[in-house]
Symmetry: D2
Subunit: 298 residues, 4 copies
């Protein structure tokens, strides 16, 4: 699709994920100016080829692509459409790519506000975690105009191996949330089976083997099943991030008027996990909720 060229990129949000993504862009030969709300973070990446920005405006100035990797909706809104945001400074030849996981509804609003100024926006949330970010092996789900997608694709491919266009602006976020709710519920299914097997005197490892051979199989059963059986709660994809995404999914369901009782229920169970200090454990640690509910040592 797009032909590679060296691009000027402003990268805003240099946290655990963002810094690795920015570094991959720099390694790919792009000119990356970086900014983070935490002072000193951008400067710390200077030796690795990121030009530290004095401020938000500096990061965006003259950049063909302004890429955001921020914690949640309010931070993205602040950077783009807030009172101190970039909106009045952006120009039609620039494009905003928001790679954060945030509200699809807010994404669409911001997309409209930018479009009104002639600025294209893509939402491009990722999956694959810190390891995927570091290894440039992220999956990137992109919403927005086809032409904008085509223009951005070579840049995105410097950060991930699977870059998929999923329709109009906001759809990237929606597909990400669909992904997250399915992951959560599939984990819950596995945990219920393991809890029932254990309480019934059936070796859960045997149960898993059998289930993997048939219609109950899932990526979760295959990949996180061994951790569940070993009672290994370590991250992986952290429970507090999972909860953030589940909150966004519940909010979207509410705004679109879709009853999602399964998503609502599993969110409650993840809240139980967080209440027990498991926020930084991996999302398979839902098994500990079931351990606690069945009064098994956990």
């Amino acid at each position: 699709m797009g032909i590679w060229h060296m691009a000027r990129i402003g990268f805003i949000g240099l946290g655990v994920m963002g810094r690795e993504m920015a570094l991959n862009l720099a390694r790919a030969g792009h000119a990356v100016t970086g900014h983070d709300a935490v002072p000193g973070v951008a400067a710390g990446l200077a030796e690795q080829g990121i030009t530290p920005a004095r401020d938000l405006a500096h990061a965006a100035e003259g950049a063909e692509f302004v890429i955001l990797m921020l914690p949640d909706t309010p931070q993205v809104e602040a950077v783009l459409t807030g009172p101190e945001g970039l909106l009045p400074r952006l120009r039609p030849e620039q494009m905003v790519i928001d790679m954060s996981t945030i509200s699809p509804v807010a994404t669409r609003s911001m997309g409209e506000a930018l479009a009104a100024r002639g600025v294209a926006m893509l939402d491009a949330p990722v999956s694959g975690g810190a390891a995927g970010a570091k290894g440039a092996r992220l999956s990137i789900m992109v919403g927005g105009e086809a032409a904008a997608f085509a223009r951005a694709k070579p840049v995105l491919e410097a950060m991930g191996t699977k870059v998929v266009h999923v329709g109009e602006i906001g759809n990237g976020q929606t597909v990400k949330l669909c992904n997250q709710l399915v992951c959560a519920i599939n984990i819950q299914a596995m945990c219920e089976a393991v809890a029932l097997a254990r309480a019934s005197g059936l070796d859960p490892a045997v149960a898993r083997e059998v289930l993997m051979g048939g219609s109950a199989n899932s990526w979760m059963l295959e990949n996180l099943g061994p951790m569940v059986l070993a009672k290994d709660a370590s991250a992986g994809f952290r429970i507090d991030l999972k909860l953030k995404d589940l909150r966004l999914a519940n909010d979207l369901a509410f705004q679109k008027g879709v009853p999602l009782p399964g998503t609502a229920l599993v969110t409650s169970l993840y809240l139980e996990a967080r209440a027990h200090g498991e926020g930084s454990n991996g999302n398979q640690a839902l098994f500990r909720v079931y351990d606690r509910m069945t009064a098994q040592g956990g």
Copy 2:
């Protein structure tokens, strides 16, 4: 393990599944005497090599293996330990193999009652449906003593391709129920994602493609996903059978003291489906529950 020999088999329960399984045993060279509670059913299989039994006792008489394939726990109890049941007639050289899907707790009770008379029992529920039964491609999950399993294995292999020993008596049923609850919840996860995608303006086929490529993937998404997208409710594994299994899973959870809120919830949703006349549709027709809940045509 076991060496093949021609066995005398009494087969009780010649319904949609049972008749195919009995015929496969006959085709494999075993001497099968068949019985069904519905008069004439056994006689109708005579030309295909099943000897019709006059009554229950006749079916069991002289059989090395007495195999049951019946609708639910009460029928199995009636045949084995009920007032008119086989228990007093069974002899230590005989073995009972219950291939029905029933209560693991009742299974254990019956296993003990038979063991007290020196009769071995295996529980060996199957998955794979009518097609698997016909094609001798069932998965068979077997609980009971290892020696009994070894003796029965060649017989079971005439009916299925995957014959797995999963531990003591009752475990076959338990693993089957674990399988069923995971299937149900994984379907629910898929349906919630599809409902949310649709309501948000995202093509659910695109969502499925993306989800299949990552940690949200499942056998259900791969295999029943296309039916869900095409709004195809046809069976497949019927909702009323799914409900029967979910009831058994809920009962087992109750008896073992395991809270399974996800299983309880999805059971409610399948009840909604049955209330709308979907009992003979396939279990992926849960998507119609979500269509109804979101007031989409369904």
Copy 3:
């Protein structure tokens, strides 16, 4: 309605509730023959005016009313329609009153079996607990023919103050189960409010006061609210009995094809309570489930 006369009564089931009820019948002047599956129990009540029965048949022999107060459906079935049951001995001038809480569906089956022999049956489950039984202040919900109800009413009034005819056979059980599921869910509502208030820094006692003054008020908030606030888990109506009733309600919902997701969910939470050894605590101890789920000391 009915005019009082001294009646001959066979009373089967002399547990915590049954013995008090039988004693009240004796105190009211009826001739009570008692039987319990546990040897010696009936004999122990002889000095208080209960004639101990040699066996089940003896208890029923010549009794105008055969009253049952048993733990669950299987025990009632064993006494009435099981292989050793009373069914063949009962005569049209006799009436069976089952005051146990059991399955409405099984109740109807037994009612039909008895009716086929010309024997009237009422189902008459009670509420009010051990204290109500002792003080003859039970609420009694009676299903069955109006004429049978009229005949039995004076006898029932020796055990309770509120004796209500709720329609045909089985309806007594149904209304009891409706009562129990509403109680459970109303308790859950209270516990969720208390948990949310506490976590938000609002004194739950203040919240209760406000809620009692408006549309959130309930018997539970008024009567068990103080125990919840004081973290008093003592019985009261025991959790294991509540769970038995909730299981019956879920079973009835399943059999009638009614999705009751709220009942299914609260049953899961009560299972959590039982798993933590709270079976003999009062049903308001559901608050401890929420304490545990929020990692509050519990």
Copy 4:
């Protein structure tokens, strides 16, 4: 507590509720300047004694009490702390009373921002609906400093009959949300009982009578039960307002880390109602969700 005096009041938000509350303040002798985001609304109340404000600033200017009655959190934030908000204009002798139902967490943030400028704030959400607003019979749950409450009480008493101080700022909102979740779940309990009764052949009116006499009783059963039995879905407290409050309750639970599975579930069911066009029906219309789930005409 406080002694009555004629106060100057700025009233912001003159919708269905707000206009009645403002009029009651005017009738009580206070000098009320009114403002609404919809042009002309304030002017329309001029003949009834409300001085229309030119703009937000005008409404607040010189007012002892600035009262807000707005749809949701963003509107309150816009009026108080947003870029065009009143915050920089407010002075220590002024007090803000927010009578909207909004987020307790956002309320606390705004309370702190105002306190930093020496301005006292109360949150004072109401219950009692349009009729209560009109008749000055609202219940008003007030959070904030005791001294501020004492000062505001006479003003609040012009709008409601029950004015309760429930602790610090934000607690008014929290107790309101506790109230709303209990109301929703108690309605659900009633609807499940009615659905089960109906499907089981028990007259739900009889069931209600029995339940009202015992531990299953609730304000909802007493007051909205007749509407449920008559299949009367009319408002009353509207489902879309209920959903707004349930969303706030779920958000608060999320922020405070409290798993509220019952609240989450009933929210899903109310979403089903809204999806079926019931948003402007009364909140007892949850019974129609159960009618639909059981395939009863609804």
